[in-house]
């Protein structure tokens, strides 16, 4: 499949080369190394891309990757880990639902002798490696961009609305990062902050915020789906004045940034494919006791409307993911 060349961050390709060479002689012939991988949930493009990265790593390295979803539920997460332990998986790659509530599950895996790679979110116990991003930074980077943007474009001050999240840590962290970055911008006023998760919710909440505050200048959305909703609302109403910023790029959003329908200004994104790929690759290395980067922070990237070249590259790279 064309997936592995799609993103091809340098870390991923290197890992493939090394892992592929060393893979065979560790386990008895025919017995593949099994990596148990626990993800938060299966909804949304973001996790889909992570899974594709994981599967690609599995193929490249010749290991078996078992992916299972916790459906946002800590108890199920813990169950998934114990199933992998019972199964005799060789290493665990986990996206902890919560820094605290996932500790027990991670420790159980370690006690059973499984190397653990946490990815995407940290967990408050020692692990063999971390691959991911800082969610706080994910919010902060856009926040910093907003701060500059407001200084440049709204000398008279401006009004900003937040499509946020209060339900789980990832969201709360991002919002905090964003809010702290814009805290001291003169003239910037946060006029609304509401929770939105899915796309239609994002759309409805945007509409209601617009009703309550018709003079909003900027929207910021904490995740991809609510951002898509906000974007669709502006598209539907033909609103080209309100500036949209947010988190997590997608093909559709990249195209929208390139187009003229809406003023989608900036998106800070992670590289979910790389996160998935490296989580598995590092898990394999940890199992084989090879050297690897213990705290691998996958680069964050802020795409801006004016960088057409970057955006076009993104579209080019990701076309194949969506078939």
């Amino acid at each position: 499949s064309g997936t592995s060349k799609a993103t091809g961050g340098s870390a991923a390709t290197n890992a493939a080369a090394e892992g592929g060479a060393a893979g065979a002689d560790e386990k008895a012939a025919g017995d593949k190394i099994t990596i148990g991988s626990v993800i938060m949930n299966t909804s949304g493009e973001w996790f889909s891309e992570v899974m594709q990265g994981m599967n690609a790593a599995g193929e490249d390295l010749g290991v078996k990757v078992n992916i299972v979803s916790s459906d946002n539920e800590v108890s199920k997460e813990s169950d998934n880990v114990s199933t992998f332990i019972a199964q005799g998986a060789d290493a665990l790659a986990i996206c902890p639902l919560s820094a605290d509530a996932s500790v027990a599950a991670v420790e159980a895996a370690k006690e059973a002798g499984l190397p653990v790679i946490a990815w995407n979110c940290t967990v408050n116990t020692e692990v063999d490696g971390f691959v991911g991003v800082s969610n706080y930074d994910l919010g902060k980077l856009t926040g910093e961009y907003v701060a500059q943007y407001v200084k440049d474009n709204y000398p008279e001050g401006c009004k900003l609305a937040i499509l946020g999240n209060h339900s789980y840590e990832v969201g709360v962290e991002r919002c905090n990062g964003f809010k702290e970055a814009i805290a001291n911008v003169p003239g910037l006023e946060v006029v609304a902050e509401q929770d939105a998760e899915m796309q239609d919710e994002g759309m409805d909440i945007t509409e209601q915020i617009m009703t309550a505050n018709p003079d909003v200048d900027i929207f910021w959305a904490w995740n991809q789906t609510s951002l898509l909703g906000c974007n669709a609302y502006m598209q539907n109403t033909g609103n080209k004045d309100i500036v949209i910023m947010g988190t997590d790029m997608s093909l559709e959003l990249a195209k929208a940034m390139l187009g003229d329908d809406v003023k989608l200004q900036a998106i800070t994104t992670q590289m979910p494919y790389d996160i998935g790929y490296n989580a598995i690759a590092n898990a394999v290395k940890a199992y084989k006791k090879e050297e690897f980067e213990k705290n691998m922070l996958i680069e964050l990237k802020t795409y801006v409307r004016d960088d057409t070249a970057e955006l076009e590259k993104y579209v080019e790279d990701h076309k194949s993911l969506v078939e």
Binding site: T42, S43, G44, M51, D195, A212, N236, T237, L251
Partner: protein, 314 residues
């Protein structure tokens, strides 16, 4: 005598009175609330769900329940988006999607009726299955790239009234008529009240039950089209939890969970109730956690008021 009449009136229309009271409170609290714009916003926001809730109300009246509506909407939505993105003309795609909805209803309704199963479990299973299918066929990605014309179905409006609101009105008008003035509608009430009696009266219980599911799922297909047009993509995670919203709307509106009683008009009131509440809380900028608490408490209150009304009525 006159006193009793006023009391009767209050009791009978208590839900409406509570609704009016809520509207007045919100109008006083926020000057944006009772603007034409915001009223239309609220109506628009309940419109798609309210079409799903028509089917749900009919199913509950017939003595069943359907937990799969949200998943069916999601499944139909991605199918529709994939069809359109791959070049199938919009109108053909729409018809196909509604047909697929109907076929799903034929399966769930047919199995429920023929094998005399409890629809709760049948549709719980289908809820899982169709959500998974929607994700499998899209690989988890929303399907975008729909024709521009298609977006207009949900986005346009005429004389200030959004199309979505018009669709809602038309569908309600049609189904209120069906429930009240057709043999089919009457049979639904009869079956929900006493299935055995209905069957022995020569009503084809199996067919009516199946038909109710077919209609409900076809309406999910319609809702899927509108939702897809509204968010301009077919998202496998969309319409999550709509079953609960639709059920809550129906029951707040006075439909009897045990079947046999209920009115579509009540369901709209129920949905409006929840919709206005949500809208009001956003306008007032209520803290996100508290929104959930307040919503719970107000529904709780509505339920209690509703019950007091019913008891006074008997």
């Amino acid at each position: 005598m006159k006193n009793i009449k006023i009391k009767d009136f209050v009791m009978k229309y208590i839900m409406y009175i509570v609704l009016v009271f809520m509207v007045i409170t919100l109008t006083v609290a926020n000057d944006k609330f009772l603007t034409l714009n915001n009223v239309m916003t609220i109506l628009k926001q309940i419109s798609i769900q309210s079409i799903v809730a028509i089917g749900m109300t009919m199913i509950i009246i017939s003595g069943n329940i359907d937990l799969s509506v949200g998943s069916i909407v999601a499944f139909c939505s991605v199918i529709g988006a994939m069809l359109m993105a791959s070049g199938v003309p919009v109108w053909i795609a729409i018809i196909l999607v509604v047909l697929i909805g109907a076929v799903i209803g034929f399966i769930s309704g047919g199995v429920t009726a023929k094998l005399k199963l409890h629809s709760f479990l049948v549709t719980l299973a289908l809820m899982q299955a169709f959500r998974g299918l929607a994700q499998t066929i899209t690989g988890g990605y929303p399907k975008a790239g729909l024709p521009d014309a298609f977006g207009g179905i949900a986005a346009k409006s005429v004389a200030g009234v959004p199309f979505l609101v018009l669709y809602m009105i038309v569908f309600y008008a049609v189904f209120v008529y069906i429930m009240k003035y057709t043999a089919f509608g009457r049979s639904i009430y009869a079956i929900g009240s006493n299935e055995e009696s209905a069957r022995l009266s020569g009503i084809n219980v199996e067919r009516v039950k199946t038909m109710v599911f077919v209609i409900s799922s076809a309406l999910c297909g319609v809702a899927a089209i509108l939702l897809t047009s509204k968010v301009r993509s077919g998202d496998p995670t969309c319409a999550n939890g709509w079953e609960m919203d639709a059920i809550a709307g129906a029951i707040i509106g006075g439909t009897n969970m045990a079947g046999g009683e209920g009115k579509l008009g009540g369901t709209v009131i129920g949905l409006l109730f929840v919709g206005i509440l949500a809208n009001g809380m956003v306008l007032l900028g209520v803290n996100a956690y508290m929104q959930s608490v307040i919503k719970g408490l107000v529904i709780f209150l509505a339920v209690i008021i509703n019950s007091i009304q019913k008891r006074a009525h008997n």
